[in-house]
Amino acid sequence: MTEARRLSLILAVALLALGAIFAGPYVLDTYSVNVLTRSLLYAAVALTVDLLWGYLGILTFGQSVFFACGAYAAGLVFTHMDFSEGNAVLALALGVGGALLVAAIVGWLAFWHGASALYASVITLVLPIVATQLLYSGGTFTGSSSGLSGFMSFDLSMEAWFWLAGSFLVAVTTLAYIVVQSDAGRLLVAVRENEQRCKYLGLDTSRLKILVYLACAVIGAIAGYIYAGYAMVVAPELAGFVFGTELVIWTALGGRGTLLGPVFGALIVDYESAQLAGDYPFVWQLIIGTLFVLVIIAFPRGLLPVLFDIPRKALGLVRKRPAAPPASVTLSTLDAAETQGEEVGDDGPALAVHGVARRFGSLNVLEAIDFEARAGELVSLVGPNGAGKTTLMRCIADGAERSAGTIVINGHDIGRKPPEACVALGVGRKFQMANVFETLTVAQCLQIARARHARPSLWRRARELPLPEAAMHVLATTGLDRQLSTPAHLLSHGMKQALELSMVLALEPRVLLLDEPTAGLTKTERMQIGAILIDLTKKQGLCVLLVEHDLDFVREISSRVIVLHQGRIVLDGSVEEVVASELVKQVYAGSGHAGIAHESGPSTAQEMPA
């Protein structure tokens, strides 16, 4: 399916939905139209819960507050300043502005570098509690517990309100659907799947979360504004924790991460609540509560995917799906003239480490680490387990990690910068355990790795993916380029390692940090990776820092070896010097037992954590 066809299909469905909204008042009774107008607006807020929770992985209890922002802006302006067209615009601006301000404060609190998912949820839980209490204590200004009512509003018929609310819902749902299906939307899933990897791919995930949060706040505020205009009453419950959790319940019932599920979940549950709550108020709540618990335990994806799966499975019995869907993305080699990596530093070292120390309380893991490495050098970092190798890697890739000292990349001091800023300076880090986006395909993982250089589209999906030569080389050598549409979690361990290496190379780093890239690989795979690394340093002029236990491998490919022991550099020299060194043998074999380190290469390779 071409891009144009895909987008026109989405628009056609949206037009159909608009048609249904238009027909609504002619086929429904007055009571239903009245109730559904409210449900349509609630559904728009549930949509924002889904964007944040289903796509971005932030469980939020506080979206009700943004709805209340818009509603109270209208209520306050129309009560205290009278209704006029100018004031209507003012109220909308105040509602949206207030929601943006609140969202910015919450975003700053909840999405800072290093905040846990639980902490973000806690903040969104505190938000509605604070908001309700402030509304209660507002006296006659906010109407306290009874809220505001009896203000003038737009002179629209009930049908017109229904159409307005419905068109708003269709518009935001369509927009959200296009965005989450686009290349930019895939970033949201990547952040949910593996935020750490995103940061080390140079993506500012905190900023992305705040941006999505702000957009969701605006949608909520507009929905609230329309609600106040139509209901002509606002109450503190609109901002409350109970409404906030109801939104989460509708989203979970409908199906998180599906957009349409939460929309229909909100419409159906809220409409049915209005129908049944009058006759069986407590039983109805009990049913919803029970259903919610059951869905969370048994169908965590919600009910919409279950509904869709039944006909799909039935169809699957009749006709077989092709085993592997054809690749939707074609790779190409990025023109060398278009590479955007950091320039090679003029003459200075690519990486300069001075006086770096890392302490955990009274424990010194690293002490007085001093070394420099130039472009084109492949420096191996060896030493027994616990020598501080991985800690040193971490200190180079994340400015907040070290306790003392300076680290300069290509002439730029990394200071206290977070990982994504270090990536911008030219650092690429491959983790010890293969660290990829498990649910995304190989091609999608690579696209995310390129997102820093090629800003992804908010509405289109790219068909072509230009990658730097080095990344293409790894893909071609390992055969990953023939598995572009395979989800990453189905890859073998070695293939995952290769995928992560190509993702890091797609960043066009100048300083490449590799933490045991060959751990758990076969001999052949190790040779392939070794050849690629030599090629990267010799031809591309990268500075590679490699942590390795396999001393045979180190001997074959390194231009220099640094030996770490108990947090200090004990030797820094050529391969020959290190291999001949009595000290190194002692470090590896313990001082009492002078085993020959480099001859026990294969067995030391076994001690690495798999």
């Binding site: 902490y119 806690v122 509690i129 604070v130 407590f282 509560g289 029970t290 618990v293």
Partner: protein, 278 residues
């Protein structure tokens, strides 16, 4: 001055009694039990039943522990156990449970506000100040609860196994500790403590189907700033509970109601480990 100090100490004691059950569950299972509020409500109604049956009001406490514990067993087995791998979903499922508990109670007892008999009436003279005897008794009860739990965790084999599970569950299992059983017992104990807390607070206010919910958020925030330690929970209760009393008396009661939640959120932003030592 003395009245205010007593207010702070008794408030901290009440908060401590309310939060210990939640802390125990969070520490061992890394799960936030949002049914804690519902279980407290259950404990409150156990006290109501005791009053209506004309029992000695002190018997309300073991009765509430029984109610909470039995409900906790069922919740652990059927709801929490399938969700160990999904801690955020466990928050939601337990919140759903507290809705269910609230609605079932409403169906049985009606939604009206009811009152229970306090085990201790009247006031006590302390440092020249006459103060509610029951609130003072709560300090002793909270201290007894804290000491009993500490003794259980530090002095028994079950406690040793529980601490092992808190520190490193995989390793504990590798050493042959039945961590599923430890979790089951912990959740039951935590739920029983929630019930007890519900029974303890009813003489101070009243009983209604949603009485536990306002306590839930404060208890939750206190647990988050304390990590998994009973000692840091005590510190958190004194500091944040004290701040709540001071704000409520000197600024406004409404702001006082927000103090714990807002302060805890700010503390966690500045110092993610909160009151825990590391």
């Amino acid at each position: 001055m003395i009245a205010q100090t007593l207010d702070i100490v008794t408030t901290a004691a009440i908060l401590y009694a309310v939060a210990t059950g939640l802390l125990l569950v969070f520490g061992v299972m890394k799960i936030i039990n949002f049914a804690h509020g519902g279980l407290m409500t259950l404990g409150g109604y156990a006290a109501l039943i005791a009053t209506q049956a004309g029992l000695n009001p002190w018997l309300a406490i073991p009765l509430a522990a029984l109610f909470g514990g039995v409900a906790g067993m069922a919740i652990e087995r059927f709801v929490v156990r399938p969700l160990y791998a999904r801690p955020l979903d466990a928050i939601l499922a337990t919140w759903g449970l507290s809705i269910i508990i609230g609605q079932v109670i409403t169906l049985v007892f009606g939604r009206g506000v009811q009152f229970t008999q306090a085990p201790l009436e009247g006031t006590l003279d302390l440092f020249g100040e006459s103060y509610s005897a029951y609130r003072l008794a709560l300090v002793g009860i909270a201290a007894a609860l804290g000491l009993a739990l500490t003794a259980l965790l530090q002095g028994t084999r079950l406690g040793l196994e529980t601490r092992a599970v808190i520190m490193n569950e995989d390793l504990a299992r590798g050493l042959g500790i039945n961590s599923a059983l430890v979790r089951f017992i912990t959740f039951t104990l935590g739920s029983a403590l929630a019930g007890v807390a519900g029974a303890l607070i009813t003489p101070l206010s009243s009983v209604d189907p949603n009485m536990g919910v306002p306590w839930l958020v404060n208890a939750f925030m206190l647990v988050l700033v304390s990590g998994a330690s009973l000692a840091s929970l005590l510190a958190a209760c004194l500091v944040l509970g004290g701040a709540q009393v001071l704000v409520a008396t000197h600024l406004s009661p409404v702001l006082g109601g927000l103090t714990i939640a807002v302060l805890a959120a700010v503390i966690l932003r500045i110092r993610p480990q909160g009151f825990a030592r590391d």
